[in-house]
Symmetry: C3
């Protein structure tokens, strides 16, 4: 039985994993879902990437979780990469679930197509607190494209605006890229969060991991909402030794 720590992506908070955790627990595993600093509703959004990472590291250390399978989703991949540098001895395996994995010295934004970079920048500048909110239309069309309108709406209601600073902070990842922690990349075959004019998150991002275990399932970028049981099953497969 494994101990999973599930780190959410942009616009989400830890509650995104509720149904997934229920299924992991039903299968006899332990699972935790911290909310990254500056994320969730009604909180101070003025955070940088280091503070985001520190909040997840603190959560793990405070609970004294060890031998964990640490999963990051989307933006959360950059958090677990940096957290793995801070507490490698607590981590049995890393799962990158449809994540960005910046090259050393780059920000997450540097991995985006230039059009997406511009869109994020513009939305942040138009906000009054340097955050970005995804429009509902885009949410339903390219993020949760396997959901009906009702599910798209109910999940959108759970989102909150995303701090922009962590997207543009340059990340020193030299230590991460030298870690020998086993790694898995989990991907959904109807993923369209990024324009697919070239190649998608897999293999564009996943190949930066060197040797890794590839696990795939049907679904969109947001299967924690559209298919939480199926996702939990694949997390177990991605997380096993």
């Amino acid at each position: 039985m494994s101990t999973f720590v599930l780190v959410h992506g942009a616009w989400h908070d830890g509650s995104a994993w509720k149904a997934v955790i229920q299924h992991l627990e039903a299968k006899g595993h332990q699972a935790f879902a911290p909310t990254i600093a500056g994320h969730g509703k009604g909180v101070n959004k003025n955070v940088n990437h280091a503070q985001c990472t520190q909040s997840v590291v603190d959560y793990i250390v405070d609970k004294d979780l060890t031998d964990i399978v640490l999963l990051g989703h989307s933006f959360g991949g950059t958090i677990v990469a940096k957290a793995a540098e801070a507490i490698p001895e607590r981590i049995r395996r890393l799962i990158f679930f449809a994540t960005f994995i910046p090259n050393d010295g780059n920000s997450l934004s540097d991995s985006l197509p230039s059009q997406s970079q511009q869109l994020m920048k513009q939305l942040a500048e138009e906000s009054d607190d340097n955050t970005v909110m995804i429009p509902f239309d885009r949410w339903h069309k390219v993020m949760i494209n396997d959901a009906d309108l009702e599910l798209a709406k109910s999940t959108y209601a759970q989102l909150s605006s995303e701090p922009y600073q962590p997207f543009i902070d340059k990340l020193d990842l030299k230590q991460f890229y030298s870690l020998h922690t086993p790694k898995s990349y989990l991907y959904c075959s109807e993923e369209t969060a990024l324009p697919q004019d070239e190649i998608g998150l897999h293999p564009r991002m996943s190949n930066r991991l060197g040797l890794f275990r590839f696990v795939q399932m049907p679904g969109s970028h947001e299967v924690m909402f559209s298919n939480p049981v199926g996702l939990a099953e694949k997390i177990i497969v991605a997380g096993r030794d």
Copy 2:
């Protein structure tokens, strides 16, 4: 419950959708399948792209269909794109099912690899009525690769020669590309109708839609024959709000 209008591709006529329509109706939807002008057996094949489009528009207007989900398959994608320019007020959503989507000012043929362009041209010149017939070998190998020999033969018997002119007519699509009609792209994961030396219809064609809902299912280019129930289910998912 939705009203679907299903527009067939090259070599087909409206009867190709028979089994799909049965399942859509069993699920409570309405579905119509016009035969494009110049298509089907025993008809005058001397048509251009504008006449093909007009025949579908006339069908929809004559039946006074409104609030429709308009689907085009393969070549039919170019027809629904032009039809959407003519009667946007009747269309709730467009589904592009393994379609070509020419750039503004281009013909369908311009989207083909040069080898396929040459093959089409040559076959048309060798015909006595400027049409192209797909050889059975190619039909079974790359179009309906998920069918056994019996199904490949019985479906081939339903095909008829395809007018060549609509493939080379240059299409003014400026208006189409400015429409705000919601769009879905439906794709089959064993699609090999086009040589896959670079990237396939998805994402090569689909990305021209801008933001769209991506839906995928297993199967070949011709799942209306090899898996009509599965296709109907995915058409419902692609067509919902």
Copy 3:
């Protein structure tokens, strides 16, 4: 009912197909699985590509197998391509299952990314018999990524070191590329045996076949171990007329 001859890939011997053959036979087919010369445990590994091919040809001729569906897996694809040149009259269809298909005049190694070429060369030079053994870590991570640790270990125990010479022998494939034997390419959607920085075995290799039937299933490069029943079902689909 068909007669299948299943030709294994690198590090394997004919016993790799045991569970697949059981299922093929349960479905009423005949299936044979020769061990390629220089493969398997406790044998002389000093073979070249021509000797490998000859051993499979001899097996088929000695048993007087005719009207066969000849399948090659991975490295085995280069063997069945050359065997098809030698005994085309005995072969009803060729199935290339996640195989390399060298261009005429090239070796298998020429189709590898340069990093993989270097790794193979280095491992061969470090051996005392010009062979290459895949490390367990790589086996589990990228070859049988859909297996749990127990299955990864038990299957690894069945492997033996691979003769290097057949990987670098230049292959005259002019005759192969002129054969009209029907061809299928069978592929698994979680295949990661090769780095996927560009495009994978499909379509990079498969497109060299010209017109071919494409068949796909979920799983890793080693589904004969992780999903033998599912593989047998897809072999039947790939092998039918």
